[in-house]
């Protein structure tokens, strides 16, 4: 996988070879705390994610999974504790450097897709290029974007706008956008939460392929056992802290808050025939 460009002194770069311990971990979070008013959501959460790992973070609804993902991805800076990404302390990075890190090294996939409705699928995929420190030239960027769409089997929907796409197609466009700069880390927040079973399964398979074939590091926040099942390691977030877990933890949780896949409506956000 080609290395994304990184030029400025403050810009994030992959860990140096001289620091093998740091090189082994893409994410190192220690004692992360985050509160919203009086509600403490994260109470000393710590975790480490190795390069090339496919990790699932599970937990009950409202347990702080998405909050932790936002902190780890540099989307939320109002935390206490230490978060190191590619060997860089996030708190020490300027807004510009952190933005560049998100732009070139991290891809995000969200439950509600977060596509811009006034742009076509291709234009949505091209968005990261507008904010890159060294954007690709027009033709190269378009070629890269089409390539990304082709990887998620949407080459023929490049000109369609999000309202014209099904849920699965939208999520695949979001994935193509996340993969535009061939990031090293993909952070996914309930990526199949709005999809029907079949479409969700295809997305999960795509994640597994990206991890196995391209060595992409994936952190999946989910409360779906079948998503957690593809992960090599499962962590559970409980009482604001990260503890070891397994996909079966979710089965236990389902008894109180989750419906099994089989019970979910098959018609929700399904692909068109």
């Amino acid at each position: 996988m080609p290395e994304p460009s990184s030029s400025s002194a403050e810009s994030p770069s992959p860990p140096s070879v001289a620091d093998p311990a740091a090189a082994a971990f893409v994410i190192v979070a220690s004692d992360v705390r985050r509160s919203f008013g009086r509600d403490a959501v994260l109470c000393g959460a710590s975790l480490q994610v190795k390069q090339g790992e496919l990790l699932a973070l599970v937990g009950r609804s409202g347990s702080g999974k998405s909050t932790l993902l936002s902190v780890l991805g540099g989307l939320d800076r109002d935390y206490q504790g230490q978060v190191t990404l590619f060997g860089k302390d996030l708190a020490a990075l300027s807004d510009a450097a952190l933005s560049q890190l998100r732009n070139e090294h991290i891809g995000f996939v969200f439950q509600s897709f977060h596509l811009l409705d006034h742009l076509s699928a291709l234009e949505n995929v091209l968005l990261p290029n507008a904010f890159a420190a060294s954007p690709l030239a027009h033709a190269a960027a378009h070629e890269r974007a089409r390539e990304a769409l082709a990887r998620v089997d949407l080459a023929d929907r490049a000109t369609a706008r999000p309202p014209e796409l099904s849920g699965g197609q939208k999520q695949r466009v979001a994935l193509a956008r996340a993969l535009f700069f061939r990031p090293q880390l993909l952070l996914c927040d309930e990526p199949t939460g709005n999809l029907d079973v079949t479409t969700g399964q295809r997305i999960i398979e795509l994640f597994a392929t990206l991890n196995q074939r391209e060595g992409l590091t994936l952190l999946l926040v989910t409360h779906e056992p079948r998503v957690a099942a593809v992960a090599r390691r499962v962590l559970r977030i409980d009482a604001g802290q990260v503890v070891s877990g397994s996909a079966t933890d979710l089965v236990t949780d389902q008894s109180t808050e989750l419906a099994p896949d089989s019970a979910r409506p098959a018609h929700r956000q399904e692909d068109p025939p």
Binding site: S66, S70, L75, D76, A130, F131, S134
Partner: protein, 478 residues
């Protein structure tokens, strides 16, 4: 272009593309904001161009701002101590200080002064007559005459292409004659000395033509003088009886002179009421008819300032020398225009302030609606500076459109008023073709104001948007 420059421009181009896409998807709020700015800029540029037009096309023609007319102290009409002193001085034979060659030299040496041209009035009455060939009968008129250095009007006459020479011919003419037939072509017989001489070249003021056109011509059913008629009038010869008065119906001196005169052209520097001839004629006539002293005292000194120099220091020097300047009302007229302009500009700026408030409101609303989108942009790598660039870029585009439309609206309104003035308003002295002047600097100022107002209006909402936490924007938290 270096790789880093190319990357910089590609990045900016990418952001500009986003600005274009954002504007294209929500044309209505964009158009509403543009409309508000258009009204403000239209009002601002309309009044500024009116003020400029009035100053350049009307006031400057009537009251040239780079010239001073230095004159002796006026008679005091003060009924108190100042008036009493003036009367006493008069009784003791101490008239106003004369404007002589020494004063002329002093003012010419002033560092702010480009040149000084002396003027001298004839010190006796003059009766002019002629015009049979023009109006079918001989017309008589008392003629105030003053003399001016031909150098003072030479550039203007050259610039306006007036062919007849405005020079002193007298010393070169000595051919004896008893009537005009005995004289060479272009010369006339002056009967008092029986010599053939070229006629004295005469300049008249455009002010005099305006007064004639707007009152005399109308009252007497005579034709108006326009450029064409003026061309025909050039070369018109008449006779001046020096020392005779039509009003007094008597000869005031036993040294009457008869001189043929020819209309040589029109000049802003000609005396407003009367005729202007080369200075040397007036000096000679005053010396011959009114005595040597009359030939030494100038009636006024026309001071031409160096470009861009203020008149204040020269005014101070003039007052120190014991003279004053002709109060032509320029200061008051200029002040009146300035005050009116300031008032109208204030009204326009208030309109712009309201428009800026509207831009702020529109942007706050747009940002609330686009909160989620801003979060997405942040997630894919937009920095705070990028969001500021995008949002302020949208504001600048609104300003640019508002500025262009505002200028167009102002220009259309100005053109309409000019057309109305030409067709519906009666002629009056110095009635201009246009009351407005749209200069490149005015257009640049209007556009700058427009863009600046929008940037100012959008600055606060844009800053608020840029400071949004991406996570909060994506999750819809406040």
């Amino acid at each position: 272009m270096s790789a880093s420059n190319a990357a910089f421009f590609r990045r900016r181009l990418g952001l500009v593309r986003l600005i274009r896409q954002n504007i294209a998807r929500a044309p209505r709020p964009f158009a509403l904001s543009v409309f508000g700015i258009t009204l403000g800029i239209a009002a601002l540029s309309f009044f500024l161009s009116l003020s400029l037009g009035m100053q350049e096309r009307v006031l400057r023609r009537i009251f040239p701002a780079d010239r001073l007319e230095v004159v002796p102290q006026k008679t005091s009409f003060d009924s108190g101590a100042a008036g009493a002193l003036d009367a006493l001085g008069s009784l003791l034979g101490a008239g106003p200080k004369p404007l002589d060659a020494q004063v002329l030299a002093t003012l010419r040496a002033h560092p702010d002064v480009q040149t000084v041209f002396p003027r001298m009035k004839v010190a006796f009455p003059v009766r002019g007559w002629g015009g049979e060939s023009l109006i079918g009968r001989t017309a008589y008129l008392d003629l105030p005459i003053d003399g001016i250095d031909p150098e003072a009007v030479a550039p203007e006459l050259r610039q306006t292409g007036q062919p007849l020479a405005f020079v002193d011919h007298e010393p070169t003419s000595n051919t004896f004659c008893t009537d005009d037939k005995g004289c060479p072509s272009g010369q006339f017989c002056d009967w008092d000395v029986n010599k053939c001489r070229p006629p004295v070249p005469v300049l008249i003021s455009p002010f005099l033509i305006e007064v004639y056109n707007s009152s005399i011509a109308k009252m007497n059913g005579l034709p108006r003088i326009n450029g064409f008629v003026l061309g025909r009038l050039r070369g018109f010869v008449f006779v001046a009886d020096l020392g005779r008065s039509f009003l007094a119906r008597k000869t005031v001196t036993d040294k009457v002179r008869y001189r043929h005169m020819v209309l040589a052209g029109v000049s802003d520097r000609a005396t407003p009421i009367g005729i202007t001839v080369p200075l040397a004629y007036v000096k000679r006539w005053n010396a011959e008819i009114a005595g040597e002293r009359a030939a030494q005292e100038y009636s006024s000194l026309s001071v031409q300032m160096k470009p861009g120099r203020p008149v204040t220091r020269v005014l101070e020097q003039v007052r120190k020398l014991g003279f004053t300047v002709e109060d032509n009302g320029a200061e008051q007229a200029g002040l009146a225009v300035l005050l009116l302009t300031a008032l109208f500009v204030l009204v326009s700026l208030s309109t712009l302030a309201v428009a800026a408030g509207s831009v702020t409101h529109t942007f706050f609303r747009a940002i609330a609606e686009r909160r989620h989108e801003l979060g997405v942009l942040r997630a894919v790598g937009a920095s705070r500076a990028d969001l500021l660039f995008i949002l302020l870029g949208e504001a600048a585009v609104i300003g640019l459109f508002g500025g262009v439309f505002g200028l167009a609206l102002a220009w259309l309104s100005a053109t309409g008023i000019d057309l109305l003035s030409r067709s519906a308003l009666p002629d009056f002295p110095f009635k201009p073709d246009s009351y407005f002047l749209f200069t490149p600097s005015l257009c640049a100022l209007a556009l700058g104001f427009s863009v600046g107002t929008c940037l100012l209006g959008a600055a606060w909402p844009a800053r608020t948007a840029a400071r949004l936490s991406p996570a909060a924007a994506l999750s819809g938290q406040r």
